[in-house]
């Protein structure tokens, strides 16, 4: 049962708190870095501003390469409620927008705006909202969103969404716990900027209207507690709670449990139990955005570890490469056996893959630890000691989760509430076998997520497939119906017109018969060789076969037959005729050349030609189809895919050639000599090819290659002639 508000206040008044289960007490090591004030850093030469730095959707880029930007100028625009913009951290020029190694454990490159600093650090115009109390809530929220503020504690949830809950808020909890070892950025921020943090809390109170504000600070930071207490003295509604030091007291659910004894339900949000939590860093950023109009472009980062000479806290511009911070704090790589820089704390952080990884809005610590500070990877078998279960702050069974995660039994891991794991690393910290438990959970979680995504995708695919099937069936039915109706209409028309139509059919049949008789008569006469039909051609070819006596003639006849066949096939596909004018011009030229060559080469008796005037016609025609043949071969006949490709390529080439020629004609006067030259080269190849064709009709691929070569040659010649002309 949820504790009611008054009970909680009463208990807090008595100076008592609740507790959460489990927890560990690792060495704090905070004095390494919390002794010196936060330092300002010189502006780095290059800044890498990752476009997506929060949970949700990335903004829409509104800048381009080469553009000059001023400090605080927005680089992206939020088009979605879950998108927050990013801003230029200093003035300069955008040198690139590209994929850059990201501040993510995977180090996978993500879209990044690279800014080359001009070292002027010139601000853009700022628009503060000092009278926020008189402004509508939506306006204040928009200002927070436009300032690019997302949670600075860890996950990076957009602040404006968290600040506009749909439910009543009992408690606004400000998280200044900072329970992870080494990290002191919030500690220093609270000590030095307590007043501004309080201003941020004021803004949040205006937005959320909580009944009470609790500021949780671990009792190992007495200076910070005191500073905040002084800052909040005027407002009795703000209560600073000193929380016992225990890891992970800074976890959202754990802190809520400690301060209010309310448990956030699984898959629920803190607001379900009437609580909203913000980090102190976020409060500071909100105050910056509202009272001075400054967007979130810098944050406090702890640079610590024994491998840095001067550990401490620095104000780092968002987008500064890690190397810049380390150089300032004098990182000594030689003390590490293997370069290892951790972003975040030792419990939940991750090793960065490159020193160019930029600081993002959630980066609170850069840890360069020596080898004795971090545990090596020395995994051994689980001995079932159950120490992990004792320390789990979420009361899970890490052992069972580990078994199932390792065995890839994803459903079982979900039965053991894998998704309630906050990945705090307490279990791995106490494990005597040094099993990297959290690592296994993360793998299992991402596998489950990917599986769910795939499931969604497959559901969508199924839906689309079924809709398409339905559409195709409907279309088919509509077609059938149309045909049926048309047929019926015809039938009706027939029935209504009666004998009349039958007479028409009879008349048409008679006409057709008469035509046939006429044409067959014409065929016997062979009076017009130029107007012969295709049937005539083939018939003539057969005739040649019978009349020819010499072997030379026989060969010719065979060629003619083959060619006639081809010509017939071609003319049945009139679509494959070349459609460019130039190509047809070329065809004509080749025709003439061919005719001459044919006569010369074969030395056919003149009688044969005169007797069979159609033969030459066939030859030349068929040759025509041969020499430019591959350029317009019938796609139906060329069944193999390669032939198809060859055709497409040859077509494209012919087109290009034609274009070139057209260009030539445009620029210079048409030179007949060049043209003649072109056609000559064409015809030189042609006779050789006719031999091949005789052997095997199917060798069209070679023909295509020859055609390609020819086209190339023609193009070259054209180019040459152009050059000649110009010289």
């Amino acid at each position: 049962m949820q504790n009611n508000f008054d009970e909680i206040i009463e208990k807090l008044d008595n100076g008592e708190l609740w507790d959460f289960p489990g927890g560990v007490f690792p060495a704090e090591r905070k004095t390494l870095s919390n002794q010196t004030p936060i330092q300002k850093l010189p502006i780095p030469e290059q800044l890498y501003v990752t476009v997506k730095q929060h949970i949700g959707v990335e903004g829409h880029l509104i800048v381009e390469v080469g553009q000059k930007v001023l400090k605080g100028q927005a680089l992206t625009k939020s088009m979605n409620p879950f998108a927050v913009p990013v801003h230029a951290s200093t003035s300069g020029e955008i040198s690139a927008i590209h994929k850059h190694v990201s501040a993510h454990p995977s180090g996978l490159p993500e879209l990044t705006v690279q800014i080359t600093s001009d070292q002027q650090d010139k601000w853009t115009q700022l628009s503060p909202m000092v009278d926020y109390q008189n402004q509508p809530t939506m306006q204040v929220l928009a200002a927070i969103c436009d300032a690019g503020i997302s949670g600075m504690g860890g996950a990076g949830f957009p602040t404006h969404i968290k600040s506009s809950p749909k439910k009543d808020v009992d408690f606004l909890i400000i998280n200044g716990i900072e329970c992870e070892p080494y990290i002191t950025s919030d500690d220093r921020l609270m000590r030095e900027h307590a007043w501004q943090i309080r201003q941020g809390i004021d803004v949040l109170c205006h937005l959320l209207k909580p009944k009470h504000v609790l500021i949780g600070i671990e009792n190992n930071k007495p200076e910070a507690i005191e500073a905040i207490q002084v800052a909040c003295r005027e407002n009795p509604n703000y209560r600073v709670c000193s929380v016992p030091t225990k890891y992970p007291a800074g976890g959202e659910k754990q802190l809520i449990q400690m301060l209010t004894n309310r448990e956030v339900p699984a898959k629920g949000l803190p607001v379900d139990v009437g609580v909203i939590m913000h980090n102190v860093g976020t409060c500071f950023a909100i105050a910056d955005a509202i009272f001075s109009g400054k967007p979130l472009i810098s944050r406090v980062v702890t640079v610590t570890g024994e491998a840095v000479e001067k550990p401490g806290n620095v104000w780092a511009l968002i987008g500064s490469p890690v190397a810049h911070l380390l150089a300032h704090c004098e990182y000594k790589q030689e003390v590490q056996k293997q370069a290892n820089i951790i972003m975040g704390g030792p419990m939940m952080g991750f090793s960065v893959t490159s020193e160019l990884v930029p600081v993002v809005k959630t980066t609170n610590c850069i840890l360069a630890a020596t080898d004795h500070e971090v545990a090596g990877n020395n995994e051994q078998a689980c001995i079932r000691c159950s120490a992990c279960a004792d320390v789990c702050p979420a009361s899970l069974l890490p052992q069972q989760l580990f078994w199932h995660a390792k065995a890839k039994e994803l459903e079982k891991t979900q039965e053991y509430n894998l998704f309630d794991c906050i990945e705090c690393g307490a279990c791995a910290y106490v494990c005597p076998s040094e099993i990297p438990l959290v690592h296994y959970y993360r793998i299992a979680k991402s596998e489950i997520r990917v599986e769910q995504e795939e499931k969604q995708k497959s559901d969508k695919a199924r839906d689309r497939f079924e809709k398409r099937e339905a559409r195709l069936i409907a279309e088919q039915q509509a077609r059938d119906e149309k045909h049926r109706l048309a047929a019926e209409a015809r039938k009706q028309a027939m029935a209504s017109s009666g004998n009349n139509s039958k007479d028409k059919i009879a008349a048409a049949l008679a006409r057709a018969k008469a035509k046939k008789i006429n044409s067959s008569e014409a065929e016997h006469k062979h009076k017009e060789p130029t107007g012969v039909t295709l049937a005539d051609q083939s018939e003539a070819a057969t005739k040649t076969d019978t009349t020819a006596s010499s072997s030379n003639q026989r060969v010719q006849a065979a060629i003619a037959r083959a060619k006639a066949k081809k010509a017939a096939a071609e003319s049945t596909h009139p679509k494959s005729e070349p459609n460019t004018k130039n190509a047809s011009d070329k065809l004509e030229e080749i025709k003439i050349e061919e005719k001459q060559l044919e006569v010369k080469q074969h030395e056919t008796p003149v009688e044969v030609i005169t007797e069979q005037p159609s033969k030459v016609e066939i030859n030349t025609q068929a040759d025509n189809t041969d020499s430019p043949a591959p350029q317009h071969q019938e796609p139906d006949k060329a069944k193999s895919k390669q032939a198809k490709i060859a055709t497409a390529v040859a077509k494209a080439k012919a087109k290009r050639d034609a274009q070139k020629r057209a260009n030539d004609q445009d620029t210079t006067d048409p030179v007949p000599a060049t043209k003649m030259h072109n056609t000559e080269t064409d015809t030189q190849v042609a006779p050789a090819k006719t031999e091949e064709q005789q052997i095997d009709m199917k060798k069209r691929r070679i023909a295509a290659a020859v055609a390609k070569a020819k086209a190339k040659k023609a193009a070259e010649n054209a180019a040459k002639s152009k050059e000649d002309k110009s010289s």
Binding site: S102, S106, K337, A461, R462, F465, R468
Partner: protein, 188 residues
């Protein structure tokens, strides 16, 4: 007489009780009927819905029907061993390894049309089982990456071979925490 009477009463009482319970059960069977998923639907839920036809059936639903009618469960290469395992659980049969005759499990891919080479023949549009290709006759076509199932069916019909199957790029949200795969600089 009393004995007969007693027997009759008992029979009558039991008969009436049987009738009442029968009616109650009959009513409950109609009123509280649980709509169970037909087997085909359940199988279809498990199949990856690439609609690639590698199993020899024209889509996932027909294969689901075939499995329900007793066909082998190891004919789905896009689903791989995971799908076979789930099908085996559902059908109560032993999980087999993937039938090599139908292809091998491959990394996830999507189709990509090299747009300057596309001649606009619409053949791939007709081949796409999930309407993931956009375009019109003699206009350039393009693939809607989010809808593409990587089924490969558009590659063969393309007369100019301008469709590539591109592996899906890994991003931070689909990354599987394979930390070991990250190169770490080794010093001296």
């Amino acid at each position: 007489m009393t004995l007969t009477y007693a027997i009759l009463t008992a029979l009558l009482a039991i008969g009436v009780l049987a009738l009442i319970f029968g009616l109650v059960l009959g009513f409950a069977a109609v009123k509280f009927k649980v709509e169970s998923d037909p087997l085909v639907e359940q199988i279809d839920q498990i199949l990856p819905q690439t609609q690639c036809g590698q199993c020899g059936y024209p889509g996932c639903k027909p294969y689901a029907q075939a499995i329900a009618d007793g066909d082998e469960i190891n004919k789905c290469p896009p689903g791989g061993d995971g799908t076979i395992k789930k099908l085996a659980d559902l059908m109560g049969v032993e999980a087999k390894s993937l039938d090599a005759a139908h292809g091998q499990e491959d990394i996830k891919k999507v189709a990509y049309i090299r747009e300057d080479e596309c001649i606009g023949c619409t053949k791939c549009i007709q081949a796409c089982p999930v309407d993931a290709i956009l375009g019109a006759a003699k206009q350039m076509h393009t693939v809607i990456v989010d809808e593409c199932t990587g089924c490969d069916l558009c590659v063969d019909p393309c007369p100019v071979d301008c469709i590539d199957m591109v592996p899906v790029a890994n991003n931070a949200s689909s990354w599987l925490w394979n930390i070991d795969a990250i190169p770490i600089k080794q010093i001296g």
